[in-house]
């Protein structure tokens, strides 16, 4: 019986695992004032992301201008935006189309 070649299973990035049927996404936008280490720290603290994930999101903000940091129903997304605003980050929410 031939041995099946090992199949490499392409695990999606953790950020893509979040259910896509949640109607709102929360974005953090690049700005020239907030320190990169501060943005990473706040994302870890507010969302419980590990350093690697928070750092990657921060780099997306810095290099691509924005990053999606959470998804949810409207109330949850609005609370996330509020907590980001409390920490001085430039966050908005929009429909996840």
């Amino acid at each position: 019986m031939p041995t099946a070649a090992p199949v490499e299973i392409g695990l999606p990035e953790t950020t893509e695992l979040i259910a896509t049927d949640l109607p709102w996404k929360v974005l953090v936008w690049n700005d020239p004032i907030n320190l990169m280490t501060y943005v990473t720290f706040v994302l870890q603290k507010l969302f419980g992301y590990d350093h690697e994930r928070a750092h990657r999101l921060m780099l997306d903000v810095h290099l691509k201008g924005r990053a999606v940091v959470s998804h949810g129903q409207r109330e949850k997304a609005e609370l996330d935006v509020f907590r980001l605003h409390e920490h001085g980050l430039w966050a908005t929410m929009e429909h996840d189309s």
């Binding site: 020239p32 004032i33 907030n34 320190l35 501060y38 720290f41 001085g88 929009e94 429909h95």
Partner: protein, 157 residues
């Protein structure tokens, strides 16, 4: 570490607190920042405050939600900023801080930087700025101190 500081200004101690090494004139400055920004928060139309109260909804089509967010959350947001500023002013002379207090410092320092940075028109292109101004010096020093506070909380010092 930032060359702005002769020694690390914030260092985590073995008991999980944060030791502050700041000069008396630096503590005086920190003590004054809170009340100054707090006074600004009483004047909601100050242009320098725009970055502290960004819109919540990206799409102008959601203006009804946006108005509701402002109506319901603005007061809490002001109270949150004020609380952090009060923590900074009340503990500016402290020998050491709890993590919760240092987090208040970080939020307050960042709020002041957002207002100062807006007034100084900080952007990716900094050519138009005057590096010799007192505001620039304070902005740079606050940035250095915030960076050290974050490093200390993130476990890097």
């Amino acid at each position: 570490m930032s060359p702005l500081f002769a020694r690390t200004p914030v260092r985590r101690t073995r008991d999980g607190r944060f030791r502050l090494h700041l000069e008396p004139h630096e503590r005086d400055l920190l003590r004054q920042l809170g009340p100054q920004l707090s006074a600004l928060l009483d004047q909601p139309d100050q242009p320098g405050l725009a970055r502290l109260f960004p819109p919540a909804y990206s799409d102008p089509a959601h203006s009804t939600h946006e108005e509701e967010y402002r109506r319901l959350m603005r007061e809490d947001l002001v109270a949150g900023h004020r609380e952090a500023l009060e923590t900074l002013a009340a503990t500016a002379g402290a020998v050491d801080l709890s993590e919760q207090q240092l987090l208040g410092w970080a939020r307050a320092l960042n709020s002041v930087r957002l207002v100062l940075g807006t007034l100084l028109d900080v952007s990716e292109d900094d050519e138009h700025r005057d590096p010799a101004s007192a505001e620039e010096a304070i902005y740079g020093w606050l940035s250095g101190l915030l960076g050290c506070a974050i490093d200390a909380m993130a476990g890097e010092t």
